[in-house]
Each structure stands twice: as structure tokens, then as C-alpha cells.
């Protein structure tokens, strides 16, 4: 069994993001991390490996030198990694998906795991696009994944309920919060990861269809009114909800 995990580097969710230059790029001096859902995808792959045996390969398209998230995947238990070094200035989700699909095709895994969304662009496009480009079935937002009889069975939450979908392997599955709690690598696994191989090569370039034109800060919300303390404030809150907000 071979599992490929797609991992993306994003700014830490607690970082403040600043616009620089002519308005379409952000300051790079933020703390970069692996996108949270991708951590769940790596964790799931490693658990399958620990349970049933598998080779786990982490794949990332990221700028030169951007390797800390790839190292984290290895420390968490991935066996090796492929770093597609990106130098295409207008790289978009389409060209990312095409580049990643080439690696998936070449590696021919039994299963591709990815995050439900990457928390920077928040577009949920790359994983389903990789699936569709290669004609692989796509199972999104798994909170539980079982592999049995050459099939992937995924449970996911719907509003007020849940559903179960299945697809034959090989397929692409995205991880949703709830699937697992990603581990913190132990010192031992960190040392072990140092010997693991990262295959570093230039990312293929493809035409970009979508162009980021400008970035802007959202309007700042202003602190409003404290209506009072405890139950004493309730009549005023009800008045506000009925007369100003008009929901009662």
C-alpha cells in the first residue's frame, strides 16, 4: 500500500497578515506552518501505516527553501517526500493541481490524502482537481476513513446528521476536523526524520487561469456598546434587539 499526502505551507492562523508592495502580495516574515487539515491528512496516513503497513510519501509544491512543513510530515512518520520547487510567479490553483497531479500519476499510489481546504486561499479546489485530472474518485471532508476490500469508506458530517460514501481505490480523500488529533513528533522521530529523503525538483509550469489582482484589508469592526452587567442589562438588550436590530 502506498499513500501520497498533499501538504501545503501556509501562514500560522494566529499570524497577522500584512500587504506589501503594489498590493498583491503579503509580507513573507510570518510564521509558516503546515495547513491544519493537511496535518490531519498526514496523521491519518501514518495511522494507516502503523495499523496495516504502508509507504507514506508527502508531496508539496512550495518555494525554494520552504521545507519546515515537509520536515514536519517526515517527523510525523512519512517515509519520504517530494518537494516541487515553485518559481512560477503567477501560480494559481489550476497550475498547482496540474503539477501535483503529475507526481500522483508518476507515483501511482493506492490512496491520496489531502486537506479539506488550505487555510490561506481557502478554496477547496486543489484536491478535487487532482482527482478529476487523473479520473480518480473524490471523497471529501472525511471525519472517519476505513479501507476495506480495495475500497475507501468515508463518513462525513452534514447539517444535523451524517452520511457515508465509498469509492474504489485508488481515490482522493480530504480530511476534515474530527478525523484525528495530529501528533506532535517525539524527539526520537525528529532524529529519525533527518535521514529521510526529500526529492527536490523544479515544479512544472502550467498556464494560470486565475489572477490575483489586488489585496485589501477588510473594514475594521468597531467595539460597540456594553449594555451593562448581568441580568440588569437584559431589558436594554431586548429593547436594542427589538428596536435597533429588529429581530424581535
Amino acid at each position: 500500500m502506498k499513500i501520497l499526502v498533499l501538504v501545503k505551507r501556509v501562514p500560522d492562523t494566529a499570524a497577522s497578515i500584512r500587504i506589501t508592495g503594489e498590493g498583491a502580495s503579503i509580507a513573507q516574515d510570518v510564521e509558516w506552518v503546515m495547513s491544519p487539515y493537511d496535518e490531519m491528512a498526514v496523521e491519518e496516513a501514518v495511522r494507516i501505516k502503523e495499523r496495516a503497513g504502508a509507504e507514506v510519501v508527502a508531496v508539496s509544491l512550495a518555494p525554494e527553501g520552504a521545507v519546515s512543513h515537509i520536515r514536519l510530515a517526515l517527523e510525523m512518520g512519512a517515509d519520504r517526500a517530494v518537494h516541487l520547487v515553485d518559481s512560477q510567479p503567477d501560480r494559481d490553483a489550476w497550475s498547482t493541481a496540474k503539477a501535483l497531479a503529475e507526481v500522483v500519476k508518476e507515483e501511482a499510489p493506492d490512496l491520496v490524502l489531502a486537506g479539506r481546504t488550505a487555510v490561506d486561499m481557502d478554496q477547496s479546489f486543489v484536491a478535487p482537481a487532482v482527482a478529476a485530472l487523473l479520473g480518480l474518485p473524490f471523497l471529501s471532508s472525511a471525519v472517519k476513513l476505513d479501507l476495506e476490500d480495495g475500497k475507501a469508506v468515508v463518513r462525513r458530517e452534514t447539517e444535523g446528521g451524517h452520511e457515508v460514501l465509498e469509492a474504489p481505490l485508488p481515490c482522493v480523500v480530504t480530511a476534515q476536523k474530527g478525523i484525528n488529533e495530529p501528533r506532535y513528533p517525539s524527539l526520537k522521530s525528529k532524529i529519525k526524520a533527518k535521514k529521510k529523503k526529500v526529492d527536490t525538483r523544479p515544479a512544472p509550469e502550467f498556464e494560470a487561469l486565475v489572477k490575483l489582482e489586488t489585496l485589501a484589508y477588510p473594514p475594521q469592526r468597531q467595539a460597540g456598546r456594553i449594555l451593562g452587567e448581568g441580568v440588569e442589562a437584559v431589558p436594554e438588550l431586548v429593547r436594542v434587539l427589538s428596536e435597533e436590530v429588529k429581530i424581535i
Partner: protein
């Protein structure tokens, strides 16, 4: 521009989010507006008054499959030469739209907040980095767009669409299929489509205390959400989580009860029209973004609020 709207139905009615997607298409100036529904049992007058002139019906597959739906849409989009295909950015829309975009070899813009025509293509505003920035993107036709619920006015127009039946699409044999579906009775309104949300956090102390939030939500016709702390504690399902790794919501009114207001939580709710915070800590960061705040114990304030609302409604 010629636009195709993917129709989603719920409880025998077209979803509001679908009508909003049609509204987005009309507002963009698409002069030909068609719709496609994959499945059985679409109400005959479902799209009456939605400004849609033609409705294509595609027979369902044995069981729901994202690849089947995507193939149906991509085939029709290609055959009909549509410039833009619109989906609502619902759970289903979000999973089918990217597959349809690849099938159609179309540019993709997901979860858009605003749209403007731009030559033969569009410009779209999207939320980035957990709402810390907005980005304007441009893309040429053909396009697939998903619209964030509650961001566009629902479509309105005259008459009913003409109906045309389509054959089943040539969908891949290897595909994902639904094998089980469990919905709770009543089918809760999706958080992303709710007008009123009452969310609770770690300050609720115990899962049983969410009953007071359920009561308030019911009185106001809203639904209950949660912070990640409440979800991680196992008090609420993951599907209730609001925030950067949960849902992004934009209700009319958002109540944050016993929620401190961490940046990742704000990422999910700061585009709410009105924010009301109840927190016993006057220094809680949530008060920096709340329009109205009450400093106090949620266990006392919320029941008193419900009682007062009930009184007002009764009299």
C-alpha cells in the same frame, strides 16, 4: 454572458443559496440564465419568478455521486456553450463544482463574496487568510463560480422556465457513491444559511448548559453554533464549529456566549451584520468586535433574556 445555475433542493424546495447564486448571475449582467437539476422530484414551479428561462432536468444516478453530478453539469456547460456555471458554496456545491470545472476545462473561483463583469470574464472578491484579507481575482470565461450563502440577493424575475429533459451523462464508472445517509428529524438549517446564530464556547461549562442556547435560538428562529473549544470538549458536533477551521458565517445577528473571541473564531463570524457578546470577563477580546455586550454570567443572562423575549412576544 450565458450562465447556468446548478439547482439544489431541500425539503421539497429550492435552496435559498441556489436562488442567491441565480441572483449573482443576474446582477453580473448575464442575459441568458438557465438552470440544471440532477435528480427526481423538483417542484414544477420551483424556479418560478427566479429569472431563469430554461430548466434542464437530468435523471439521477442510483445513488448520489459527486462525479455523476459534475459530469452532468460539465457536459451541459460544454454542449450549451455557457460562459459561467454557478453553484452555491454549500457542502454539495463545494464538492461538485471543482470536479465540474476540471470537466469543463474552466477557471474556478470558489466561495466568492462579490462579482463584477470584466471584459469576457469576471472579477471576483474572495476572503483570504481566515478573513484577514480580501482578494480581487480576475479570470476569463469559461468559468465555474461558487457563491457564498447570504452574500447575494436572491434572484427575482418573471415567469416560469421552459423545461427540457437531458439524458444521463457519461460519468466515470469509478466514482464515489453515497451508501448511507442519516439526517436528524426536522433537518436543521445550515449554519451558513441561518439568519440568527447563538454560539456557545468553553464558558458554557457543560454540554447540558447548551439547552439555554437552544431555547434562545428557537425563540428567535435561529440555530446554535459553537467555538472550537466547545467542539473539542465533545460538547457539540464538529459541524457546529464556527471559525477558521469550521464554518464561515454571516448571519443577521451572531450571539457569542462564553466565547473569548480568539482570532481563529473571529475568522468565522466577523462578517456578521450584528454581533452580541455575553461574557463574564469585561476584558474578553470578543467585546472589541461586538456591537452590543453584556458582562455577566451566561447561565443567568441567557435564561433572563429568553424569558424577557417570551414576555414581549406574548404581550
Amino acid at each position: 454572458m450565458k450562465a447556468l445555475i446548478y439547482v439544489e433542493q431541500r425539503d421539497g424546495k429550492v435552496r435559498t443559496a441556489t436562488l442567491e447564486a441565480a441572483g449573482a448571475a443576474a446582477a453580473l449582467g448575464c442575459d441568458e440564465l438557465h438552470a440544471v437539476f440532477v435528480g427526481d422530484g423538483l417542484a414544477a414551479d420551483a424556479l418560478a419568478g427566479a429569472g431563469v428561462s430554461k430548466l434542464f432536468l437530468v435523471p439521477p444516478s442510483d445513488s448520489y455521486s459527486p462525479e455523476y453530478h459534475a459530469a452532468a453539469v460539465a457536459e451541459l456547460a460544454r454542449d450549451g456553450g455557457y460562459d459561467i456555471v454557478f453553484f452555491a458554496a454549500t457542502q454539495r456545491g463545494k464538492e461538485i463544482a471543482p470536479l465540474a470545472a476540471v470537466g469543463r476545462r474552466a477557471a474556478f473561483l470558489g466561495d466568492v463574496l462579490e462579482l463584477a463583469a470584466d471584459g469576457g470574464g469576471v472579477k471576483a472578491k474572495r476572503s483570504l487568510y481566515g478573513g484577514k484579507l480580501f482578494g480581487w481575482f480576475s479570470a476569463p470565461a469559461p468559468l465555474v463560480v461558487t457563491t457564498r450563502p447570504k452574500m447575494f440577493a436572491p434572484a427575482s424575475g418573471e415567469g416560469e422556465p421552459a423545461v427540457e429533459e437531458r439524458p444521463a451523462p457519461a460519468a466515470p464508472e469509478k466514482r464515489a457513491v453515497l451508501i448511507e445517509s442519516h439526517a436528524s428529524a426536522g433537518g436543521k438549517v445550515d449554519l451558513t444559511e441561518a439568519d440568527i446564530i447563538v454560539s456557545g464556547g468553553r464558558g458554557m461549562k457543560d454540554p447540558a448548559n447548551f439547552a439555554i442556547l437552544e431555547e434562545l435560538a428557537e425563540l428567535l428562529g435561529g440555530v446554535v453554533g459553537a467555538s472550537r473549544a466547545a467542539v473539542d470538549a465533545g460538547w457539540r458536533p464538529h459541524s457546529d464549529q464556527v471559525g477558521q477551521t469550521g464554518k464561515v458565517v454571516s448571519p443577521q445577528v451572531y450571539f457569542a456566549v462564553g466565547i473569548s473571541g480568539a482570532i481563529q473564531h473571529l475568522a468565522g463570524m466577523s462578517s456578521s451584520k450584528v454581533i452580541v457578546a455575553v461574557n463574564k470577563d469585561p476584558e474578553a477580546p470578543i467585546f472589541k468586535v461586538a456591537d452590543y455586550g453584556v458582562v455577566g454570567d451566561a447561565m443567568k443572562v441567557v435564561p433572563a433574556l429568553s424569558a424577557e423575549i417570551r414576555k414581549k412576544k406574548g404581550g
